[in-house]
């Protein structure tokens, strides 16, 4: 399989561990074999982005987005390049982001919420079964 996502200046990555878990940032510079200098503007209103820092490559999951910046660009230029490619919108509408959000929401469900969810799923399933009609008899087992 050919690699499509490379570690390069401007590659957008998802932070998978630590205090900025679930947040998205851009690789600004490569420090050494293990670490990159990253920074990420906030993608959602009210949520903080990833401040400029060194992060290990192992904690980054490369995404299929790239922005055009020079290495060690300042925060302001980074933000304008980020907005030009509309990375925030691309990320929040991506399936990966939505799945992560759904997982977080599921984790925060209370016992009552879980009960209501179970009942709603049951109701939905019953409606589906009604629409599908009765199961046809299996001719092979006759």
């Amino acid at each position: 399989m050919v690699f499509e996502r490379y570690v390069e200046v401007g590659r957008v990555a998802l932070v998978s561990c630590g205090p900025y878990k679930g947040k998205v940032c851009a690789i600004i510079d490569v420090i050494d074999q293990n670490r990159a200098l990253v920074e990420g503007p906030s993608t959602k209103q009210g949520e903080e982005g990833v401040p400029r820092q060194a992060i290990r490559f192992k904690l980054l999951q490369l995404l299929p987005y790239k922005i055009k910046i020079a290495h060690t660009t300042r925060s302001k230029a980074l933000k304008s390049a980020w907005d030009k490619e509309s990375i925030s919108t691309k990320w929040t509408t991506s399936i990966v982001c939505q799945k992560l959000d759904a997982r977080k929401r599921r984790q925060l469900l209370t016992d009552f919420d879980r009960f209501k969810l179970m009942k709603t799923k049951q109701r939905r399933q019953r409606l589906i079964r009604l629409c599908m009609g009765p199961k046809p008899k299996d001719k092979a087992n006759k």
Binding site: Q107, L108, L109, T110, D111, F112, F115, K116, K119
Partner: protein, 248 residues
């Protein structure tokens, strides 16, 4: 301006546990030597040792000096170490501290006993520390009952029972277990003593109290969608559900 200075300490905290001025310096700063001591002299009350009591009988002298506190009639051979007094008071007067997540109207999940898994409504904490809960009875067959908070999960679902009046007579004494003669009577000879196997019967007081409390709570529960079904359903864990990762 004067009010701001009253009650303020003339001392400063340098760091945790260390003050700027020591005891002697503080006395000087507070001008303790200029203050007049106004104390009333302590009147020592001597304890009454003997009491005069009237004695019946002709030749008994009419009255006698009787000691108020009698000397003990038994002295142990060894001195047993005395338990240090607890300033908070005896254990029975100290109710267990209620978890902050448990407030009146919280839905609790019972974890032990015949009703384990049932979701009930918390009413109030009794003097003994136990929690007074009710099903309500109509939904999950849990009556007005006492429950220990250690055998309970507090959910974040709460109903507003500020307007609910819980009868005053529902105390620990009301719920105390009544001992029954449960032994099976087989021999005929036992019938002489009239011993019969007793089974528990709910008294009318309890039924009345149950109806009174539940009647108020049912209307509140029915106003919240799905809550009635929630209370009727028992709690259970599926595989891949870990309580320490779940939010209640």
């Amino acid at each position: 301006m004067a009010d701001e200075k009253v009650g303020r300490s003339r001392n400063k905290v340098l760091t945790k546990g260390v003050m700027r001025y020591g005891r002697a310096q503080m006395s000087r700063r507070r001008a303790v030597h200029k203050r007049k001591k106004t104390t009333t002299p302590r009147v020592e009350k001597k304890p009454v040792e003997f009491v005069e009591k009237q004695v019946n009988g002709e030749k008994n002298g009419g009255k006698r000096l009787v000691p108020v506190k009698r000397k003990p009639r038994f002295y142990p051979t060894e001195d047993r170490p005395k338990r240090l007094p607890n300033r908070k008071g005896p254990r029975k007067d100290r109710a267990a501290k209620l978890r902050t997540s448990i407030t009146p109207g919280t839905v609790l999940i019972l974890l032990a006993g015949h009703n384990k898994g049932k979701r009930v409504v918390f009413l109030k904490q009794l003097v003994s520390g136990l929690l007074l809960v009710t099903g309500p009875y109509r939904y999950n067959r849990v009556p007005l009952r006492r429950v220990d908070q250690t055998y309970v999960i507090a959910t974040s679902t709460k109903i507003d029972i500020t307007k609910v009046e819980i009868p005053e007579h529902l105390t620990d004494k009301f719920f105390k277990k009544v001992k029954l003669n449960k032994r099976n009577v087989k021999k005929k000879s036992d019938e002489i003593f009239g011993a019969q196997k007793e089974s528990y019967v709910v008294n009318d007081e309890r039924k009345e109290a149950q109806q009174k409390v539940d009647g108020q709570i049912l209307t509140i529960i029915e106003s919240i969608p799905s809550l009635k079904q929630y209370l009727r359903c028992r709690f259970s864990l599926d595989s891949k559900q870990y309580p320490h990762l779940m939010k209640f």
